[in-house]
Symmetry: D2
Amino acid sequence: MAKSTFEYVKKFELDDTILPNTWMVVRLDGKCFHKFSDDHNFAKPNDIRALRLMNFAAFSVLREFNDVLMAFGQSDEYSFIFRKHTTLYKRRAAKLLTTINSKFSSSYVYYWPKFFEREPLKYPPAFDGRIVTYPSEENLIDYMKWRQADVHINNLYNTTFWTLVLKGNLTPQQAEKRLCGTVSADKNEILFQEFNMNYNNEPEIFKRGTLLIRKSISNDQEHQSVIIDVHDDMLRDKFWVEHSSLLLEKKIKTNLVYEGPITDIIQEQKKHIKK
Amino acid sequence: MAKSTFEYVKKFELDDTILPNTWMVVRLDGKCFHKFSDDHNFAKPNDIRALRLMNFAAFSVLREFNDVLMAFGQSDEYSFIFRKHTTLYKRRAAKLLTTINSKFSSSYVYYWPKFFEREPLKYPPAFDGRIVTYPSEENLIDYMKWRQADVHINNLYNTTFWTLVLKGNLTPQQAEKRLCGTVSADKNEILFQEFNMNYNNEPEIFKRGTLLIRKSISNDQEHQSVIIDVHDDMLRDKFWVEHSSLLLEKKIKTNLVYEGPITDIIQEQKKHIKK
Amino acid sequence: MAKSTFEYVKKFELDDTILPNTWMVVRLDGKCFHKFSDDHNFAKPNDIRALRLMNFAAFSVLREFNDVLMAFGQSDEYSFIFRKHTTLYKRRAAKLLTTINSKFSSSYVYYWPKFFEREPLKYPPAFDGRIVTYPSEENLIDYMKWRQADVHINNLYNTTFWTLVLKGNLTPQQAEKRLCGTVSADKNEILFQEFNMNYNNEPEIFKRGTLLIRKSISNDQEHQSVIIDVHDDMLRDKFWVEHSSLLLEKKIKTNLVYEGPITDIIQEQKKHIKK
Amino acid sequence: MAKSTFEYVKKFELDDTILPNTWMVVRLDGKCFHKFSDDHNFAKPNDIRALRLMNFAAFSVLREFNDVLMAFGQSDEYSFIFRKHTTLYKRRAAKLLTTINSKFSSSYVYYWPKFFEREPLKYPPAFDGRIVTYPSEENLIDYMKWRQADVHINNLYNTTFWTLVLKGNLTPQQAEKRLCGTVSADKNEILFQEFNMNYNNEPEIFKRGTLLIRKSISNDQEHQSVIIDVHDDMLRDKFWVEHSSLLLEKKIKTNLVYEGPITDIIQEQKKHIKK
């Protein structure tokens, strides 16, 4: 039973270290979530329970991995950004990728009942993942903008589509045809003229997705670092100027002060804060 | 909101296709499972509930991915072997790795209550993963033998260690000292002489881990392909001779007939089998 | 002048070890050799001097690297096959690739005057290279067949094309048009009917390229291992049956006996053989 | 002779594209150059002919590849830096690496007689190569400083060592022992006190290596872009401030004006400059 006879097979494990001094982004995507959302009666075009569960699962990741600087989520995808100089798991790609992916996936199932009280989970979902490397701050910011621009484009389309279907009584085929070739202004116009609906008034979480970052809040006279969930506009450069300290290596425990509403995610952390 | 301005960031996603005509193995390992098992009162040295849950989560993976030929698990680790010529996800490493990892992780949480009735899951666990490539059948078989030899070595040690602690009233430190430098024969002797315990009579699942493979069973006069969970001795070449058809590409739906006991995992599938 | 301040940049050198137990093939290709051959008045369709120089440069590589099992060349390309279990340079891809590539390139220039006596080299040529990995013997043999089939296809085309141009007085455009859509049989027919030329009688080096392998020859009653240059037909399986010992790991110093003509390459080695 | 039957082997060629927006550095090193320099009677500690040949071979590379921004050489090594946004060969690592390596190697042999008039080249040398990626300008500058600090350290050591041997009549072993544990100041002192030699007066090419960059010179009232060979001190930040335009993407044809001496390398290009 000489284990050593077979141990040579370890040599087939090749090194997958990621280049130092780069921004590593792990992006997760729900596998077959079109079917999954139908099977679990997700509201259309957005299910607030599903979004809040995604956020909470991502929060569960950030809470455990201090080297994750921020995360951004929308629909059934979530991106996690490591601080630039992290040496977590020696920057081995598979290790970083799978640990984040696994924690997120198990958290999604674990916290399901917290958000879907009357909708039991019918089967365990899966998320695929990839790890991408960005050399410069500019590339990273463009990545964040890319994902947020994607929220806008998809959500405006989906909102108009489902309004045409649910309130306009069009079939999905008719709605699709109606929207074919339209630009943003057209869709805004349809919503406003035909359904008296101002897209701008839609919830920020739908229009912009959710950003998880670390800020400090005042907690009984002390400033405490917490993970906050916000829906800021990252497409404006103003955001990046205000949050420039976020990307600076030495400031992972940011001194950015948060004074917004106490969300569930923030509340969750206050429990653990020592007085 | 020109998404296209930022879309260039997609070009940073590099190709990670795995060499064709090789055996790809995904191995998952529990993250900090020493603590996790303490937190959830796992029996020592083996918790049958935990092992059965691992097996069921792995079964959940095999049931979904027909290109996974077999899987082998022990303790808090599980290996999944893809059929040699699979083109699933175009053999992209991250995609294969994360999809298996995620499905396993979410299944572990989802099926937890099925096996741990009175022990609630306190927090979502995480599993890391790696994907390793083996060029030859011989290398793959040695990989399987390596993992099974590992079960034997660990289980004999753990069984003796915990017997010394739980029945012999040694402290963990004393037990560790006692076992230092001993070989297999010594441990067998300790168990037999001092505790009247024949290691050979220990359950196969503890001594050999669990292999999930696809065989056919007779089901109301029809032969049906099912995933079976067995504890065969893969260290003997006899096993590989008998199962040689398993590794042949054209025989993924094997004609190997299974006539063993109907386990929970097999029973689970019979429900879905049409009459 | 603290070198150590900057030495961290070494950490950006990532590991590129190639999977063990695989066949590594380095293939070199002349860069812009169409122009290079025009600039140096290469005979069309084949320049025997150029082919012999390529072979000699490849021989110079094999003579230095014992872990190169064989090499196959045609036109301006050459493939080098390492023995399967080589651990040369710890199987690091860049190191293997560049060392072979560099030795070949410098040899090409160094030995130029030996083959091009009256044609001075006008400028230093360049060869690009790649390293490809094959898991099985079957894949490797198919690689060799692929390259040799390529010689046949190209040479039959080029021979017919240049015969039409040089003897048939067609312009290159007319010759190209004439050959458009023709199959092998058509080209053979053109050569035979119009130019009374039997393609089968063309030199083997043109039709089949050159294979460099290690065999033994009798040298004053002793058997000595030498690198031989032959033009065998590797497309026939007979070749691989006869040379099966070549691919067996333990037989790198093959016991295959060579009894063919003493080529320049073989002669070159006899000088160094001790009596 | 169906080539297509075997063509599947092309699928084993995996993608090796390098991350966009990074500095790619190709570094070449002479293989067994200790022996090579002995075999060709290189002067100790520096052979000016050998250094000039290295520079000329590197110049031959820069002249051909406009996307090589600069190069730095010392002893038997040379580094080539691509401009950050090059898309040459689609940034495929092996292609970039081997093309540079091959051109350099063949040039080294080709130009050998130009510098070693009375010393025939005995055999073709080889250079290995690697390609390394740097995400930031700071990393790249530190790379350049690292290599130049290396020149200083090695040259001061070698100068002192060979002075002790050649003028001080020590054996190499004695010289080595004498220098063991000495710092820079000690070596300067040995040279000055014992051999009346001021290390600072040593030729810049020995102390600092050679940098090849593109600048413009006035040529008959016109400004022409040329590759210049200088021995500037890159360890001082002043150099990088003055040459900051060099690293800016849009300025590959730099407007830095060169007013130094007309070296052989510059002279070589004037021939080709149109009036």
